[in-house]
């Protein structure tokens, strides 16, 4: 069975929306509280490679896209979560699952102010020490 079908089958109760932009670019929308389970399945059970995560400030909330690569087929599965609470965005950390997620979570924390629960070492990665607390460079000012 193809990896895509396996993902579809085993995540049937978690997937809110499945969008195939093209044959090789698939976007899945899930709830933020399911991220740990979904990442465990994709990374540990199915052996997908974690590429990176993209954090974004949108009018609806803080969005994170976790990009996973199926290297055998060249497909990218981007798992999308939307954290609606912009004042105090929180999500479970993936770093305890695999250390490759450590740096990008630190980056999203300093750039967007997302708290990653369970991260072993949540400190600044790129910003200077003098950068003021609570200012997040990638936050947008949306008109309400």
């Amino acid at each position: 069975m193809a990896v895509l079908d396996k993902i579809r089958e085993r995540l049937a109760d978690k997937i809110i929306n499945w969008h195939e932009h093209s044959e090789k670019r698939i976007y899945i929308l899930i709830k933020p509280q399911d991220i740990r389970k979904v990442a465990t399945l994709l990374f540990k059970d199915l052996g997908l490679r974690f590429i990176i995560a993209t954090g974004q400030d949108t009018p609806q909330g803080i969005e994170i896209l976790y990009h996973f690569s199926i290297d055998k087929t060249g497909q990218i599965i981007s798992v999308r979560v939307l954290i609606e609470d912009k004042k105090k965005p929180e999500i479970e950390s993936l770093a305890p699952l695999f250390p490759g997620a450590e740096w990008i979570e630190r980056e999203m924390w300093e750039m967007l102010g997302i708290k990653f629960i369970g991260h072993p070492n949540l400190k600044r990665l790129l910003l200077a020490e003098e950068w003021p607390e609570g200012k997040y460079p990638l936050r947008q000012e949306h008109e309400s």
Partner: protein, 399 residues
């Protein structure tokens, strides 16, 4: 009481071309932990990109890195073309070949540069001089085709900016022909040399599981037996139209990483030759006007590994989000595994992919091994030194 000593490498040092700080925690000769501090050259390019027109962004991302300066623009234009319906549906055939040729020429010069630096770090300066000398003709070819030795400005949404003229093809082919015996020489000089073997074999090892857990990419991953290469797995340009091999080694040590890079140079030469022969005549640019709303992902196999760009458009003339992930973002983090457990003298070459210098020991702190409490700092050492001078003075008397 045993002591743990911190040896800081960086952030600024004449031997480093980029500022970064590695704190090596050492016990005697052995590295027991490493702390990597980044951000000295953080320029906020992702944020900056949101303020640029779609066609200006390639020039911006070209300046992320001077060595793989066409990988970033290439990944970016692939991401935008993904919004437009995919590279293959947008870009004219000839432009696909030109993109491939530029990418592979870049790999040649980048691998030669790395080889020189790596040789320099283990004190083999002859190879350093050689490899930088033979890198020059490749840069000359870049200048001939694009007008620049670095930052070629050739990638464009919908194609490429400059064509390869027929009269340049001969020069390019001659350069490649001259490069083959050079790579042969390096293969001999590096792979058959007992001293290099003694210095690199079994040093800085990453095993396959560690590579997977740390999400390492590129030659670093391929040297540990992970068979990934974006050029084959998610082809762009003309890679799916020509014959070439992905080089994979199993050992995971620095010797294997060197071997992968040297053998990849043969593949690059072969890819460029095939492209030059197969390249059709025709337009090089699709003249894309508007970027519709949507999101796209582009990735290329840069000399250091997978380079990833994500672009989101809302239908205006600027991206509203542009995420960039360079291969080193994943690879540098894995130094935590490869350097720990080795000796200080091996740390320099183990970290060499990111070019540090470990001699930068002008500041030294001694910690208690169990409590991590500071036992001595620089001032304490100066006091000790002054006390000793005073004592010597006294001992020598008034002579």
């Amino acid at each position: 009481m045993s002591h743990k000593v911190i040896i800081p490498i960086g952030p600024y040092h004449p031997l480093q071309e980029e500022p970064e700080l590695f704190r090596l925690y050492v016990e005697g000769e052995k590295v027991v932990d490493i702390d990597i501090v980044l951000g000295y050259v953080h320029r906020g390019i992702e944020k900056l990109s949101e303020s640029k027109h779609f066609d200006q962004v390639p020039f911006l991302v070209e300046r992320i890195c001077g060595i793989c300066s066409s990988s970033h623009p290439c990944a970016y234009v692939l991401a935008v073309e993904d919004i437009l319906g995919g590279e293959a549906n947008v870009v004219p055939e000839r432009a696909l070949y030109i993109r491939t040729i530029i990418e592979e020429m870049q790999r040649l010069h980048s691998h030669l540069l790395w080889l020189g630096l790596a040789a320099h770090f283990i004190g083999y300066n002859t190879v350093w001089m050689w490899s930088w000398r033979y890198r020059e003709p490749v840069l000359d070819c870049f200048e001939m085709i694009t007008g620049n030795r670095q930052n070629y400005g050739i990638m464009k949404i919908g194609g490429v900016r400059k064509d390869i003229r027929d009269e340049d093809i001969g020069v390019l082919k001659k350069t490649l022909e001259d490069l083959v015996p050079v790579v042969d020489m390096f293969r001999g000089a590096v792979m058959d040399d007992p001293v290099i073997k003694a210095r690199l074999k079994g040093v800085g090892v990453l095993n396959k599981q560690q590579v997977i857990d740390w999400c390492v990419v590129g030659p670093t991953a391929r040297a540990s037996g992970l068979n990934i290469d974006i050029r084959r797995d998610d082809p762009y340009g003309a890679y799916d139209r020509i014959n070439w091999n992905v080089i994979v080694e199993e050992e995971g040590d620095i010797f294997a990483k060197t071997k992968v890079r040297i053998l990849e140079m043969y593949e690059s030469i072969s890819i460029i030759r095939q492209c030059l022969d197969k390249m059709p005549h025709g337009p090089i640019d699709a003249d894309v006007k508007d970027i519709p709303p949507g999101e796209g992902i582009g990735r290329v196999e840069a000399p250091r590994g997978e380079c990833f760009h994500y672009v989101r458009s809302d239908g205006t003339n600027r991206p509203i989000r542009h995420k960039i992930r360079a291969p080193s973002f994943m690879n540098v983090a894995s130094n935590k595994i490869s350097a720990v457990g080795g000796t200080i003298s091996d740390a320099a070459i183990t970290l060499a992919a990111v070019d540090p210098c470990y001699c930068c020991t002008e500041r030294l702190i001694v910690l208690d091994r169990d409590t991590d409490k500071k036992v001595m700092n620089g001032w304490k050492l100066i006091e000790l030194s002054q006390a000793k001078t005073e004592k010597l003075k006294k001992d020598l008397g008034d002579r």
